[in-house]
């Protein structure tokens, strides 16, 4: 069996002012073809004004097994949120 075309991750900017968001993946021989395939596959209904394609192998993801170590410490730092602080009644604009 011949080699498969590499996999690319597709990101779409829905409109200017918004960030690119992951939409899915496509197989393509090169970046140009990945863009064209992404256009045909993910933007048939005006879903976007800009596309990014990134070789899937280039993405480094965090390990879900480490999610707790990575993200849980933020949980006991409620003082990072404004609701942690008391403001006297009647004080405004703060």
């Amino acid at each position: 069996m011949s080699k498969e075309w590499p996999l690319w991750e597709v990101f779409i900017r829905a409109k200017n002012g918004l960030a690119h968001k992951h939409a899915g993946s496509v197989h393509a021989a090169d970046a140009r073809m990945a863009l064209e395939a992404a256009r045909d596959t993910y933007t048939r209904r005006m879903e976007g004004v800009s596309l990014w394609v990134v070789p899937s192998v280039s993405i480094t993801a965090s390990d879900p097994g480490e999610a707790e170590a990575l993200f849980a410490p933020a949980q006991d730092k409620v003082y990072r949120h404004p609701t942690f602080y008391t403001v006297p009644d009647g004080v405004k604009n703060i």
């Binding site: 069996m1 011949s2 080699k3 498969e4 075309w5 996999l7 899915g24 993946s25 496509v26 197989h27 021989a29 090169d30 073809m33 045909d40 596959t41 993910y42 048939r44 209904r45 993801a61 390990d63 879900p64 097994g65």
Partner: protein, 332 residues
């Protein structure tokens, strides 16, 4: 349905017994799924969950792709430019659906080539509905109305399926499906209001597609062995019979509204159940089609295989070109 548990030949025995897996991880997994949490590609999952998903999602993808054939058959013969543009867009959507789903299955560690190979060698299944021929233009109406209608009924609950990439693919697909059913119903409406001959054509298409459409939801619940497990894992969210009943209840009035009659002498409104009673489904026919004895099963597979083989040199050339360019760019 597209995702009916059709056993493939690789599934002789159930996968790894659940008991062989780390009971603590398994319990944590079950709890997450029961709490309607989503499972993502890198999360730990039981082997049987992974295997069931790969089978179900790839079967669904194959159905979308093979499903392009019966309708593609009429693109060049659509009766007007409007109908042609619509049908072309619809068939292109189905191709997209197949691609979203293959990509979702690939996140589980299977490759596109493996899945396509499984389909072409006859190991993997696809929905039985696509092994019926499209004899007249009215069949395009009946497919959009009934087959896409049935697909929607089945796919809407799958937007909340427990595997994240599958659920996200289903959200996209459901958004795109809604015009598919309407364009089919519009074709049927136009024919039903046309000349006596056109109306006959519409009725004939309904007569031929009605029962196969009901079979799309899969075997009755009491004969659907893997359903309970799949429901528990939220891979399936409603039973075959429940969705089938909902489809019948929704579709009968639509047929009446355009003066067509459902080909079922036992069809009757049941006041007490607040639903339609309907006649017995010929499951022998269903299983025969599953076994590959559908009227055009061989043509369907031959078309897929030759598309793959005829395009092989193009895929290889594109890859060779890309590799050569990468080397040249690196040298610059």
């Amino acid at each position: 349905m597209y995702t009916t548990e059709l056993k493939d030949k690789s599934q002789k025995q159930a996968a790894t017994p659940l008991s062989a897996e780390d009971p603590e991880r398994l319990a944590a997994f079950e709890a997450r799924v029961a709490a309607d949490d989503f499972i993502e590609p890198k999360d730990w999952m039981p082997d049987a969950y992974r295997k069931t998903l790969v089978r179900q999602i790839s079967q669904h993808a194959h159905s979308e792709i093979v499903g392009m054939l019966p309708e593609g058959n009429w693109i060049t013969r659509a009766p007007s430019l409007r109908r042609k543009a619509v049908l072309l867009a619809k068939v292109q959507d189905e191709g997209g659906h197949g691609l979203y789903l293959y990509a979702a299955a690939e996140t589980l560690g299977t490759s596109r080539d493996e899945m396509v190979e499984a389909l072409h060698s006859g190991r993997a299944k696809y929905s039985t509905i696509f092994n019926y021929p499209t004899l007249t233009w009215a069949d395009i109406g009946a497919i959009g109305w009934l087959v896409d209608g049935a697909a929607i009924m089945n796919q809407v609950p799958l937007q909340r399926t427990s595997y994240g990439p599958y659920a996200r693919a289903m959200v996209r697909i459901c958004k795109e499906e809604s015009f598919h059913q309407r364009q089919g119903y519009e074709i049927m409406t136009t024919l039903a209001k046309g000349s006596a001959e056109q109306k006959r054509m519409a009725q004939d298409a309904l007569d031929r597609w009605w029962w196969p459409s009901l079979m799309m939801f899969g075997p009755p619940d009491d004969n659907s062995p893997n359903s309970a497990q799949s429901m528990r894992w939220r891979i399936k969210r409603e039973s075959n019979d429940e969705i089938r009943q909902r489809f019948v209840d929704a579709t009968v009035p639509q047929a009446e509204a355009i003066g067509l009659s459902i080909p079922d002498a036992d069809l009757k409104w049941n006041e007490a159940r607040d639903a339609y009673d309907f006649g017995a489904i010929d499951w022998e026919e269903f299983y025969a089609v599953v076994r590959g004895e559908g009227p055009v099963a061989k043509e369907r597979m031959a078309a897929r295989v030759s598309a793959r083989e005829d395009g092989r040199w193009v895929r290889e050339a594109a890859l060779a070109h890309a590799e050569k360019r990468a080397v040249r760019l690196a040298a610059e």
